[in-house]
């Protein structure tokens, strides 16, 4: 009995907002078909055997069992992706904050130039391949030749083939690439902090720019920091293309494999779509959990 009137108001509410729903439709079609459905499809296919040609065959948890118990390369990829998520991600997030803060201390002209210099790597497409010449494995490479001239090494280091170095260099390149959208958001956020807070702070005895950052700036930037965190998580989990471009695929002993390259391997090369979807589903789950954890941490620090 009590449900009926409520249903009525819901329908009435929806009818009243027909125009709003109409405005949502064109975007939603593309958003749902090309973002939401792929995620759902991936979850569904992860329980099947599927090779794109024959209809999917239900396999239960088989793919997941194989993933964790019988696929050493997956475990290497998982470890590497976690390194990117837990080490590279936070470092790049910290650098975004640090550089945005320091750049904001400059005058307007210089600020624009520095913003461009730090932001440029993230939008310059495939320019990162230049790193493969900088760290080239022969003695013509910039780093090798410099180290040899200075006498640190006597023969060239195979930076991208040696399992000791490959991942580290990719991490450096990834950090170089990572001052992107979140960096811009932080710069904009810094410029939007209420100026009167700083004046009040100065009267209250804030002595230097560092105190000002800790006591005033960061606490009032919560929302920008949240947005930046989400963007950094996304980019640190999606490292893959640069691994293949720099270290090749497969890299020596799969030392530079990530979950993304593992998905590409099973999807594009072996056509084991069900298995590849299981890998992708694990990735989605990890990203989602990491997102919730980061948000919980940030919420504790700032008023978000």
């Amino acid at each position: 009995m009590s449900k009926k009137p409520r249903e009525h108001t819901l329908i009435r509410q929806m009818r009243k907002n027909t125009e709003n729903y109409l405005l949502l439709i064109p975007y939603s079609v593309f958003f749902i078909v090309f973002t939401i459905i792929p995620i759902l499809v991936s979850v569904y296919l992860s329980f099947t055997y599927f090779n794109l040609l024959q209809p999917p065959e239900f396999r239960g948890l088989f793919n997941y069992i194989r993933l964790f118990l019988d696929d050493e390369i997956f475990l290497i990829s998982l470890r590497n992706t976690m390194i990117f998520a837990v080490i590279t991600g936070p470092i790049s997030y910290f650098l975004c904050i640090l550089f945005a803060w320091l750049i904001n201390e400059l005058g307007p002209k210089l600020r624009n130039v520095m913003t461009l210099i730090f932001y440029a790597p993230s939008i310059s497409g495939s320019l990162y391949v230049i790193w493969s010449y900088i760290f080239s494995g022969d003695s013509y490479g910039l780093v090798n030749s410099t180290l040899m001239r200075l006498g640190f090494i006597s023969e060239p280091i195979l930076w991208f083939t040696d399992t000791k170095y490959a991942l580290t260099i990719i991490i450096i390149v990834q950090i170089w690439l990572s001052l992107g959208t979140s960096f811009l958001a932080l710069i904009a956020g810094l410029q939007g902090v209420d100026r009167s807070l700083y004046e009040a702070g100065a009267i209250d005895g804030i002595k230097n720019r560092f105190q000002e950052l800790i006591k005033i700036t960061l606490p009032s930037m919560g929302p920008s920091m949240m947005f930046a965190a989400v963007m950094q998580i996304s980019s640190s989990f999606s490292v893959g293309a640069i691994c293949n471009a720099l270290a090749g695929f497969p890299s020596t002993d799969y030392c530079a494999s990530t979950i993304i390259t593992h998905i590409m391997d099973y999807g594009n090369n072996r056509y084991e779509m069900g298995y590849a979807c299981a890998i992708a589903t694990v990735l989605f789950l990890m990203m989602f959990i990491m997102n919730q954890v980061i948000k919980a941490i940030l919420r504790r620090f700032g008023d978000v």
């Binding site: 907002n17 125009e19 709003n20 405005l23 975007y27 939603s28 958003f31 078909v33 090309f34 973002t35 792929p38 995620i39 991936s42 794109l52 550089f99 320091l102 904001n104 201390e105 400059l106 005058g107 520095m114 210099i117 730090f118 939008i123 497409g125 495939s126 320019l127 230049i130 013509y140 910039l142 811009l184 958001a185 904009a188 956020g189 939007g192 902090v193 700083y198 004046e199 702070g201 804030i206 230097n208 720019r209 919560g222 929302p223 920008s224 947005f227 963007m231 996304s234 989990f237 293309a241 993304i260 999807g267 779509m273 979807c277 992708a280 990735l283 989605f284 989602f288 997102n291 978000v304």
Partner: protein, 298 residues
């Protein structure tokens, strides 16, 4: 107060706040400057190296011991890149046409659709609006890089593989643009919209006559972000026909020629980075104005 004045006031406010300098020591200013200069040089080094490599003659690229700088700069690498391009079966203009076409449709439709959807989400509450926006916020995580494989399967089912649509459609539904647009529209004073409502304007009318003129910086930002993604998207997973490929894909195929093509591949990388960087330089202030609204509360 008219909408234009409100926005102008807001703009001035933002630039004034940026120059707030209260407790600053001279020594600190110098230290900040020197640190940024050093870090900036490190960030810039690969760009410099790419440019230098691209104008080195072949004997300087393979000189031993290698030198960073060029002694007799030449345009040979660019010319030989052009030759390689002309040798391919498909004329260069076709790749350029593909790039422009794909970028134009993806960017244009994305901006129009995203701002249409952002308006009701920003200004009205109706059944499902909040949940829907939360889903969009979470989906900021799942870029096309991450969903590439299931996306491929969906596209295969829809017979979109090897069509322009394979690059255009996912870009239209990008969640970043919608998110930024929604946050920006939220900043438009409610009073303006209420006033129009009282005058009997419909949501669609309010959208065209009040919201659209006020979100120009956000438009530009979405256009640029969308442009960057589409321009840098090689689309190589979804496109097989040579005649449908975009410029970046084609230049990569050339530069993949290995070590012998160091010069040409540097030249290709330099050419490809110019459009996104140039566009950013021209629109930096509007982008930052939009990003000032990008904060996320939940």
């Amino acid at each position: 107060m008219s909408s234009a004045t409100i926005l102008k006031l807001k703009k001035r406010n933002i630039s004034e706040k940026g120059s707030a300098k209260v407790s600053r020591s001279r020594g600190g200013d110098v230290a900040v400057f020197i640190f940024l200069l050093a870090a900036g040089l490190l960030m810039f080094l690969p760009f410099l190296y790419a440019i230098v490599q691209s104008i080195k003659p072949i004997d300087e690229i393979f000189i031993y011991p290698p030198r960073f700088f060029v002694t007799s700069p030449t345009g040979d690498n660019y010319l030989s890149l052009l030759d390689l391009v002309e040798d391919s079966r498909i004329p260069f203009s076709r790749y350029l046409f593909n790039s422009v076409l794909v970028t134009f449709f993806a960017t244009g439709l994305h901006v129009i659709f995203a701002s249409m959807a952002a308006f009701p989400l920003a200004k009205f509450r109706f059944p499902g609006s909040k949940t829907y926006f939360n889903i969009i916020v979470v989906s900021l995580l799942f870029t096309t890089q991450v969903t590439a494989l299931p996306l491929y399967i969906v596209m295969a089912k829809l017979h979109l593989i090897d069509t322009y649509a394979a690059i255009i459609f996912p870009a239209i539904g990008s969640s970043l643009g919608l998110f930024l647009m929604k946050q920006f529209i939220s900043g438009i004073p409610d009073a303006m919209i209420e006033a129009a409502r009282v005058d009997g304007a419909s949501a669609i009318r309010i959208f065209w006559s009040i919201v659209m003129p006020n979100v120009k910086p956000a438009w530009l930002t979405c256009i640029i972000f969308s442009f960057q993604t589409v321009w840098n998207d090689e689309g190589s997973n979804f496109i097989y026909s040579e005649s449908l490929k975009v410029l970046p894909t084609m230049l990569h195929q050339i530069s993949d020629g290995g070590i012998a093509r160091v010069g040409e591949s540097s030249a290709a990388a330099v050419i490809l980075m110019i459009p996104p960087i140039l566009i950013f330089v021209l629109s930096q202030s509007q982008i930052l104005e939009t990003m000032a609204h990008s904060g996320m509360k939940d």
